[in-house]
Symmetry: C2
Subunit: 355 residues, 2 copies
Amino acid sequence: MKFEALTIKDIAKALGLSTSTVSRALRDSYEISPETKKLVLEYAEKNNYHPNPIALSLKERRSRSIGVIVCEIANSYFSQVINGIESIAYNNGYNVIIAQSRESFDREVLNLQYLTSRSIDGLIISVSTETKDFSYLKELHSKGMPIVFFDRIVNEIDTHKVIADNYKGAYEATTHLINCGYRRIAAVSNPALLSITVERMAGYKAALADNGIEVDESLIKYCQHGGMILSEVEDVVNELFDLNQRPDAIFATADKLTTNCLRLLKIKGFAVPGDIGLLGFSNTDLTELLDPPLSIIKQPAFEMGEVATNLLLQLIESKRPVTDFETKVLTTELLIRESTRKKEAKAKPVPSLLK
Amino acid sequence: MKFEALTIKDIAKALGLSTSTVSRALRDSYEISPETKKLVLEYAEKNNYHPNPIALSLKERRSRSIGVIVCEIANSYFSQVINGIESIAYNNGYNVIIAQSRESFDREVLNLQYLTSRSIDGLIISVSTETKDFSYLKELHSKGMPIVFFDRIVNEIDTHKVIADNYKGAYEATTHLINCGYRRIAAVSNPALLSITVERMAGYKAALADNGIEVDESLIKYCQHGGMILSEVEDVVNELFDLNQRPDAIFATADKLTTNCLRLLKIKGFAVPGDIGLLGFSNTDLTELLDPPLSIIKQPAFEMGEVATNLLLQLIESKRPVTDFETKVLTTELLIRESTRKKEAKAKPVPSLLK
DNA sequence: TTTTTTTACGCAATCGTTCCCGGTAACGAT
DNA sequence: ATCGTTACCGGGAACGATTGCGTAAAAAAA
């Protein structure tokens, strides 16, 4: 079945005018008489005329749609970002085409090809955990495709970027853990090369250093799939607990990582924060209802989406090539809850766990 | 900045052919010689030619994009459905334009107008809690727009529909509560007119009836915004606890309702399940990590998205008008956890709560 | 009354692609 | 030598909208 819409040609025929006249009347051109305008406008209104956006796109050589690539929609952080993207795009007459990489480089490239073949006007992307080769993005960018990176950015491509203050967020989080008496703080993180990993781990290490705690590389673990696969988190947690000197807290650097760490600690029967403290990046609004209520670092996800979209629209609608790019850094929020409760004061760190 | 792509005309010019020949060569037409085909194909390949989808859309009078309207993306149920929609759409060369009603009728109509003005080929929609007037949807449908309803369906419009077995889900859930010893089971629900509310409440009432428990209308509460606003859930919970005969369990019929009930019970200091049992529809994967782990009814969200999209594509691609519509009913899953632990056997229900 | 200006509208090209018509060779058959 | 096939390719309209240019009629100026 087809859904046939009224065209300018139909109006012209019905009113005995030419298409040009109708078009001009609809756009309120000065060279159309008030009577004709009224005639056309009323007819269009009554018959619910809408200009065909596809014809317009063809004419204007722009689709008025922007592509968004994230690893997963069903992730509270990204769905909030998309929310922000949507709101700005919608208000500016753009629509949003969303694609998911599911943390796979191949799917990301496929999505990229798909979106460009759908002739998007611009792209907002947070790269997958697997992505190490940016040549495809670089090529696209060099061909003139407006791109804005957010969250997981690509430093070697010069364009607008939007990130949370990952360094500061991680620094504050780690400092908080230290202040609560934790000393052997493990980090469970995304792949090492990801921009957010680099930034967050730098904050983590700086906080340790500033508090005179030596960085223990055996306490730093990376999950290749960003915690999407439970087993990889399990492996990491097992490794941590197999250490001679077990960690007394875990700092997780991503949403899925944080909740899956909690999941595994519970499965393994460790008490949080009794046996081990837990704190991580997360954007779900359920963290305070968890057992235990989770201390988290929250990103201004919605706002990040808004900012990224505004920057992208700026790029798209700019007449001349933009060369002055900026990186917007938005502050995170540390929410302190039960999972990082102060450790009972003791003479020295307990080497063995009670449970 | 513009992103200029190679066109068929460019190829024609470069190769000294006509556009028709190039077009035919690319589509592997029999009336083009193998040599010419090879020439064109190689040139196209080398210069990374992609047919312009907008021009194609204009020609074929179809946009190859489908509209999706849900109340909120950042809701685990809907984001999972969208996931399913995406996967099928993507595999069939369609893209998905998502719009959010945020449980507002006005926004829903606005979205509808926006999507149709973007000339979508079809629509998948779960109506907002506010929607009582379906005239706009009816008009669209009567004009030939392929529509598939899911979750919150509109019975008076005859087209494909996809729902979970809400009746059975609610029946099983309520029966489970009864089997656990709960007798005064309150229902916290979406607006009464919503299809899912009707179905779920019917299951709830049937389960009570089948177990010889009288339906107490004072225990049935409706939240006009589907729990999106915490205060409305708070009002409802307050009302329930102000009753002479307080409920001993709450059955919540939607994701936000379920988690927000838990939130409020905790805020108010009620122990779950000690003071009151809790069970509800939910699709977040965090419910088992909550305090207490929540008993839930889970919908096959991803699958629902898949099924809905397949049905929609069927409608879109059908040559002649479809008149034989079906309503697919998918089974829910009851996951029993701590929040509905069996009540200690007592002579009669405790009238006052301990806390 | 004639010329100029203004008003109001139509023609046709354009965007990228497809496809209905043609058209022209080459070749074998008559 | 003529006709019919086959193979191969091009012209141009169409999809829906915009827009530069041309031009008729009406109004204003001469």
